[in-house]
Assembly symmetry: C2
Homo-oligomer: 420 residues x 2
């Protein structure tokens, strides 16, 4: 019998409560779960979810001080109260289940250390890729393996926006509006579209895959706000799809980790991940390529992961993969990591423009693999698309800054990494 307290009864918490009070659902679970206490600051929720008076509270301290609960489920989100709640729960020797990627990215190291000291576990399956059990896979199935690379579409909102742009030929702003209408993007979508949400999840994945906590501020992060329909269309013509990727890659003992929109070949399994689906792609030493795909958000899939965590919390361990790997790995400089680039300029359609651009690129030792120039609009400006050979982001950013100052160029030019 697992005796739990749930804190936060929003979309996900409400769904967890609904499932765990449904007799048909409960009777088929491998272990029994009993809700001892639930907490939300919003009292109207009590009526909406038909919560009996005696188990409802607006004070989270009641959950962690209760002698009856042995698992605290934190579904309030954010950094402040959630942190106090989890810290308090651990201090009182209670296991914790959370979906809070934001908090774990910043405070995971501290919380996991304290949990270990207090001999309790933290279940966090729902914090990355919602309903896809990637945390479990990393914690247990890949315990004999070594991860060399991960590449993930781990934010459903941005993937939905990019997919809409591609399939419906709409601009970013319109795709965002559709996403907001469907409830896939929030009113303030900045955490998603700036790549920050992916970044937080990447911090958790780095811990699981490589045994190190890297602070979010130390990881390069680029959002999708600059991507236009034009880029999506050109990328497709060139055989690529544009996806917001979270990437970590071991190269000569260094870990290169970043979030950035990227062109991936249409025949790569990640290119086909559309709508608000998530997918994580791994290259491992023993198992080779692996891909895990599913719903990254939504009350039901996320509640599924939360309940799965509750069921296993007593048996799960804070031991992770390849125990000594963390001592060896150093953080690599992403600005110096060579990659190929897609660059799009909007230039005046007059002779000599290409020569000017090329000479600046040459100055920074960026060599061009292909150029496409098409007259799309009946204006005097035309898009010029270039694919480069391997170059460092540092050089490309500098060159672009200089090119954008040319009179014949309409700033800002766009450059996007190519993931081959």
């Amino acid at each position: 019998m697992l005796k739990i307290g749930i804190c936060g009864l929003g979309n996900i918490g409400g769904e967890v409560f609904r499932l765990l009070t449904n007799k048909n659902f409960l009777k088929e679970l491998p272990s029994s779960i009993k809700i001892i206490k639930v907490c939300d600051i919003n009292k109207t929720i009590k009526k909406r979810l038909k919560i009996p008076n005696e188990i409802f509270t607006t004070d989270f301290r009641e959950l962690i001080l209760s002698k009856e609960t042995d698992v605290i489920v934190e579904l309030i989100g954010g950094k402040d109260t959630a942190f106090k709640l989890i810290k308090g729960a651990i201090k009182n020797k209670k296991h914790v289940v959370t979906a809070n990627k934001f908090l774990l990215a910043f405070k995971g190291e501290e919380l996991f250390k304290q949990a270990s000291k207090n001999k309790v576990n933290i279940g966090f399956e729902a914090s990355v890729c919602g309903g896809v059990p990637v945390i479990k896979i990393l914690k247990s199935s890949l315990n004999s393996d070594e991860i060399q690379e991960l590449k993930g579409i781990i934010n459903g909102t941005t993937n939905f926006i990019l997919s809409m742009m591609e399939s419906e030929s709409v601009e970013f702003e319109d795709a965002l509006k559709i996403a907001q209408k469907k409830g896939i993007a929030e009113k303030d979508p900045s955490l998603d579209i700036t790549g920050k949400d992916s970044l937080h999840k990447l911090c958790i994945l780095n811990f699981l895959c490589f045994g190190i906590w890297i602070h979010p501020k130390d990881i390069y992060c680029e959002g999708i706000q600059k991507i236009s329909l034009l880029d999506i269309m050109y990328a497709k013509e060139l055989g690529y799809s544009i996806k917001l990727l979270a990437i970590s890659r071991i190269k000569k003992g260094n870990l290169f980790t970043y979030v950035a929109p990227s062109l991936i070949p249409l025949d790569h399994p990640l290119a086909k991940v559309s709508q608000d689906f998530n997918a994580l792609f791994f290259k491992t030493k023993l198992r080779g390529d692996l891909l895990f795909y599913g719903k990254g958000a939504g009350p039901l899939p996320t509640a599924g992961s939360v309940i799965s965590d509750i069921l296993e919390i007593k048996d799960s361990e804070n031991i992770f993969l390849r125990k000594k790997q963390n001592k060896k790995i150093k953080l690599g400089d992403v600005d110096s990591l060579q990659t190929r680039f897609y660059i799009r300029f909007i230039a005046e359609d007059i002779p000599g423009v290409l020569a000017k651009i090329s000479s600046i690129l040459a100055k920074y030792k960026i060599s061009i693999a292909s150029v496409t120039q098409k007259e799309r609009n009946p204006t005097k400006y035309v898009p010029i698309i270039m694919l480069t050979h391997y170059a460092t982001p540092k050089a490309v950013f500098k060159a672009l800054k200089e090119i954008d100052k040319l009179k014949v160029i309409k700033p800002s030019s766009v450059c996007i990494r190519i993931e081959d």
Copy 2:
């Protein structure tokens, strides 16, 4: 410390031995593993793998009688000796790790019951989808969920053959030869190409997903031998890819389970699974669509799963999903399960042929969704491609038998299920 005995040192067993005697590999594992004894009937292997005399034997009984071993790793394959070995190991209270899908499909029910009685565990991650941890996911992460459908490409050899036919425009026989040259198909490929290997894995998946063991002989199984390049090409033109699928689907409390080549829409995630990759697609009640993709065979990926099983064998349980589901589920009649069909006839190019075919289909109440007739060859025969509306396999098979008897038709006509 896990003390193991390994039986069978072929491709996979040899790789497991090699890894577990590599100091650099061992020191990064979360628990220590010690090889107590290894067994193979082929003595020359001792020299090739540099196995010390004192741990080598040709008699498997030494492994199960040894007081030192607590885990027996069975990698000999086949039904006879492997069965004796596993039964003996369980009787002697030893945990078992196996990759033997063939044995488990036929004897799994008996072996799991005995293991449960003797309070030991059977690890079998490597028996389905090689390096992809689907067993783990089904056993633990989906413990709160309910699986409504599974659809899998779970045989790498046939997927490689079909992929080659599609990408290189070669006929079945030539694709098979390429697969044999690359070591992806065996000299006698019958277990793979008849669908039997997929069938064995499907039996294991049915146990995990629905809690019931169905004997392989009670499951409809169709191979890929009849698929021609013509069908692959026409399917592609119509927006489909042909894959050998293992399918289980719950419909009104009945389980419909079978193995058959199927047309799947090009935008379905399974359509992009090429070469010798495996993938399993699930529809679940809480998490919605899930897909797991990776290498389904090969010494390294499979050894990865075997070692992961060894590391977790003491903690793993014989409890599975949704404990009571098995009592409710009945086996449905696949012959009566309505589906859409792709049918290809080779017919004489004379007036009235289509009328003859259509009238027989109408007799069996099979309604036609689309017809394509193209002159491909400068002969008097032309292929006719039909897509049907929903119809039962029973009706389609009967109609085809009758149509094949027509003088104007070159038997045998081909019909392939469409998975929408």
